[in-house]
Amino acid sequence: MNIIEVNNLTKRFGDFTAVDDVSFNVAKGEFFAFLGPNGAGKSTTIEIMTTLLSPTAGQITIDGHDTIKEPDAARRAFGIVFQDPSLDDELTAQENMDFHGVLYDIPKEERYQRVEQLLKFVELWDRRNSLVKKFSGGMKRRLEIARGLLHHPKVIFLDEPTLGLDPQTRSHVWIYLKNLNKTENTTLFLTTHHIEEAEHVADRVAIIDHGKIVAIGSAQELKDKTKTTSLEEAFLLLTGSEIREERGSIASQRMRMWHGKRS
């Protein structure tokens, strides 16, 4: 059974086509990696899949729920660890977790238990009553991950989850995720620039470039197809080695223009 179905997804911003007629499926319980260079359309695709952005054309279902027609049912089925910070700095670590637990209807007892378990897991339990604004970048990142795992959704989107984590925490997080994938049959949808990490953990990989999917299959299949020995080489062969300009959000575009003017 496919827990995620993406059919003919297109997203245009003015003349620019960020996602160009993309279709793919993810099976229930699969560990799926969605790779691509900067500006390839990864983030836009995830934003549409997670109902933050509406598509220009095409259709997505998550756990059988159309993300446009039944957004709340679709939202209930997934969790997400965002690439960018999304914590409330003026709340404590525990308050951020509790807030999330209430939004996702986790019963009180269970919520307390899981918050404690997860905060201990990311080693923030001792700091649970500190305001998030006092946290370092790595601590915030760990808290984001813990929060994304608080409710046990059927699908977890992980948008560059290990960005800015040290190798210890990273391996810790991967073990937890793989375990979740096995014991709860949670579907994991991952984007990352650590290609070797994806090769290591993912059942199946899709590579997107210029808004189109250029390859999809297991890491072995992609390597065989490109006659390369690592997924990283296959990735470079498929997407070329030139460096990309990221389109980014409106805010960062403005910032870039601002810096441009000054320099």
């Binding site: 109902t51 933050l52 049912a73 409330d88 308050e95 939004l103 996702y104 209807d105 805010a251």
Partner: protein
């Protein structure tokens, strides 16, 4: 459903409580108005046969504290958007309407509290309500005005991506709403053009209702004030909810 609205509301109150500098800072301006204008213009006002200016002014300054805090609370969703927290709320299984209600109630409560503090401050510098029984319904109207302007703030902020429009909103919306509302001068003797403009300003009816309840003098009539305030509130909540539901991140 109520639990989710409650937690959104609670978050706003915690943020308010924790930002003491902001809380105190936003009391400076009303205090300045009360002292400088209330005392400074008092003798001129009395000579003009209008009675005690501080008593006339205090309800206006309460209105000022409420409108500034309420619109600012509504506009705070731009921060939530820039700092990413809005995404956390927007991907959760909570309808846009519930989010809008939670935020409006939270922002309105903060603005209401700010109004109450200004009421207490004005009572320490010489303002005294005509009869204390009127204070209770006045608190109700204060909350209504707070709701109205928080919803307006959210409606304005929903289509905006960053804080660049903030000065524009302050100078071309909040300031005119305040200065043209009759918060500082009596509307009955104002030039016709000015009273005509004031009639379109929701804050005019808010301040007028405060005066009706606190000092027993009302220009439009208390019933009329409350009907119009309720109408504006429903309208702004509807517009705000609609614009909020259109937000794309």
């Amino acid at each position: 459903m109520f639990k989710k609205i409650y937690i959104l509301w609670l978050r706003q109150l915690k943020r308010y409580w924790r930002s003491k500098p902001r809380m105190i800072g936003s009391l400076g301006q009303p205090l300045l108005f009360l002292v400088a204008l209330g005392y400074g213009m008092g003798s001129v006002f009395r000579q003009a046969g209008q009675g005690n200016y501080l008593n006339f002014l205090a309800p206006g300054v309460i209105g000022m504290a409420i409108i500034f805090t309420a619109i600012f609370s509504g506009i705070e969703i731009i921060w939530d958007r820039q700092f990413g927290f809005l995404k956390e709320v927007m991907v959760s299984p909570m309808s846009r309407l519930e989010i809008m209600i939670g935020r409006t109630l939270g922002g309105a409560t903060v603005a209401f509290l700010q109004g109450v503090i200004v009421l207490l401050i004005s009572m320490t510098v010489g303002f005294w309500p005509q009869n204390l029984v009127g204070v209770i319904p006045a608190l109700g109207v204060m909350f209504l005005v707070a709701l109205l302007f928080t919803a307006l703030g959210i409606a304005i902020a929903s289509p905006l991506n960053d804080m660049q429009g903030f000065q524009l909103i302050m100078n071309f919306l909040v300031m005119p709403l305040f200065f043209l509302s009759g918060a500082l001068f009596p509307l009955q003797d104002a030039p016709e053009a000015l009273s005509a403009i004031a009639a379109f300003d929701p804050l005019s009816y808010g301040v007028d209702a405060f005066r009706g309840l606190l000092i027993g003098s009302s220009h439009y009539g208390l019933g009329f004030d409350i009907v119009l305030l309720s109408g504006f509130t429903v309208l702004f909540i509807a517009i705000g909810s609609w614009l909020f539901s259109k937000i794309q991140i």
